[in-house]
Amino acid sequence: MLLHPAVIALLASSALITGLVLYASRIGITILIRWDLASGSEHQLELERKTYLVSTILANAFAFQLASLFLFVFTADRLHDQFIGAMCAAGTLYANPWGYPTLLLKIVTFALAGLWLILNWADTRAYDYPLVRAKYLLLLVLAPLLLAELVAQGNYLLRLEPNVITSCCGSLFSSDAGAVSSDITGLPIAPLRLAFFAILVAACASGLHFFLTRRGGYLVAALTGAAAVISLASVISFISLYIYELPTHHCPFDILQAEYGFVGYPMYATLAAATLAGLGVGALMPFRKIGSLRVLVPDTQRMLSLVATILFFLFSLVVTYRMATSGLVLG
């Protein structure tokens, strides 16, 4: 096992945060069962007070999941020379089967926590807590996923055997490796490039459309989801090539490094925020018609769709700039 300080940091802090969220979901269950807004009883008042605790815990969990996602990737990167064949985080994550699932779960729990916060924001601005059920049901979905992530991360970090021969992004993402990652890189570039820009334009258009007409919320969410997936695939498939100026370097993690101008940060930041905002529009759709939310939700959605549009636009600007100024020319 690798007893690196970062490993301890990740395991300990993840355990603490997961513990807190599990505690919050216990409160959530009580709320789901006993909530009665009309009653002025002390029990109800206590429950209302507890909602503040839950939202504070989840706000912290959200910030933490984001930070730990980065720490996780960077640690994997720093450890890469312990594994033969690994040249960056991509290889280290592949060293045992728990690596990539952990990454995926971190991203999913981060997104779910973000969506919870969006729902909570709308809920606290209505005068009758209309989204209580929805919120705490979502919490009951989030908590086990967070636990799963803790287990996966633990398994990954504790079972890391240095000197295990793993693959580097060169072979992981090379076209003849026979895994999902290689299927992505095997995709022909020109059509994917077209699809990439097309979906971004579509997502921005739908966001703008919603902003102006307040219609098509589900469409915004769907296009946002598609844009996120296609963008990630595009990063691996061809965008990274432009940034590294190498036709074989597909790693999605190295773009966070200093030598590439830390371009990975604005790229992933805008993409993540835009995706959250766009999905948020969809998450709020089912609650549009509820009395106390009738004005609030469409307004919130409009703001979110505008944010999503602007951020997707910024994302495409960053990418296009790097592609245009790159020394590499791809067919």
Partner: protein
């Protein structure tokens, strides 16, 4: 106008020390008038005052604030003006905008200056500092306390503390001022001064509610209407 319908407040429900502070009180508070809540200690005056001022939620019953019409009570939208089961967020915001409180013990924050204490209720509203400061200084001027604006409140005399407490209650330009046993720690002279200030507020259009059992207050000509309370219930109930 504020209306209470069959409002009850029970503390420690289900436990051996269960205690009903307010029991089925119905009353209407008229705007721009001074209403006195009168009764011996333990009659529920303070609890009733805190219920009217949206500081506590009733165990049962309904409380309604007039939203339409005068427009001087809260600018928020909620159906029918009923505030009974509003979430704390809303209750607090209504309270902040609509009500100003003067407590029996004044309850200024020790360690802060007079000016800071006066501005304190408005801090979370996000108004620019300069605006708040000007308004606070104006209020202190009104109560002849501007000289002491930067003094720590620990060094104030009883009368000065009282005036700062009143200034604080007015920082958010509330429509209603609620004073709980305001003369309990004051000598006759200061008590009369205080009542004069209340009269002054009334003439400016503020609704005033005073909870007290001090004869000086009860018999004062300032009071327009007396609501007598005994054991949490309205005694006689009607206007005096």
């Amino acid at each position: 106008m504020i209306e209470l319908v069959e409002v009850t407040k029970v503390f420690n429900r289900g436990r051996p020390n269960e205690f009903t502070a307010v029991d089925g009180v119905s009353l209407r508070v008229e705007p721009h008038r001074v209403t006195g809540l009168v009764g011996p200690s333990g009659s529920g005056k303070t609890t009733l005052a805190s219920l009217i001022g949206c500081m506590a939620r009733p165990t049962s019953g309904r409380i309604l604030l007039d939203v339409n019409g005068s427009g001087s009570l809260s600018g928020l939208t909620f159906p029918g003006g009923e505030v009974t089961s509003l979430p704390e967020r809303f209750l607090t915001e209504i309270r902040r905008r609509t009500f100003g409180f003067i407590f029996q013990q004044f309850h200024l924050v020790q360690g802060l200056t007079v000016l800071e204490n006066v501005m304190l209720p408005a801090y979370p509203t996000g108004e620019p500092h300069a605006v708040l400061r000007t308004r606070a200084l104006g209020l202190l001027e009104m109560f002849d306390m501007s000289r002491k604006a930067e003094s720590k409140v620990e060094w104030l005399s009883g009368g000065e503390t009282q005036r700062v407490a009143i200034a604080r209650a007015l920082i958010n330009s509330p429509a209603v001022v609620i004073a709980d046993e305001p003369t309990a720690h004051l000598d006759t002279k200061l008590a009369r001064e205080f009542l004069d200030i209340l009269g002054d507020l009334k003439s400016r259009g503020t609704t005033v509610i005073v909870a007290s059992h001090d004869p000086l207050v009860v018999d004062s000509p300032i009071i327009d209407r007396i609501v007598r309370l005994r054991d949490g219930r309205v005694d006689d109930g009607a206007a005096d």
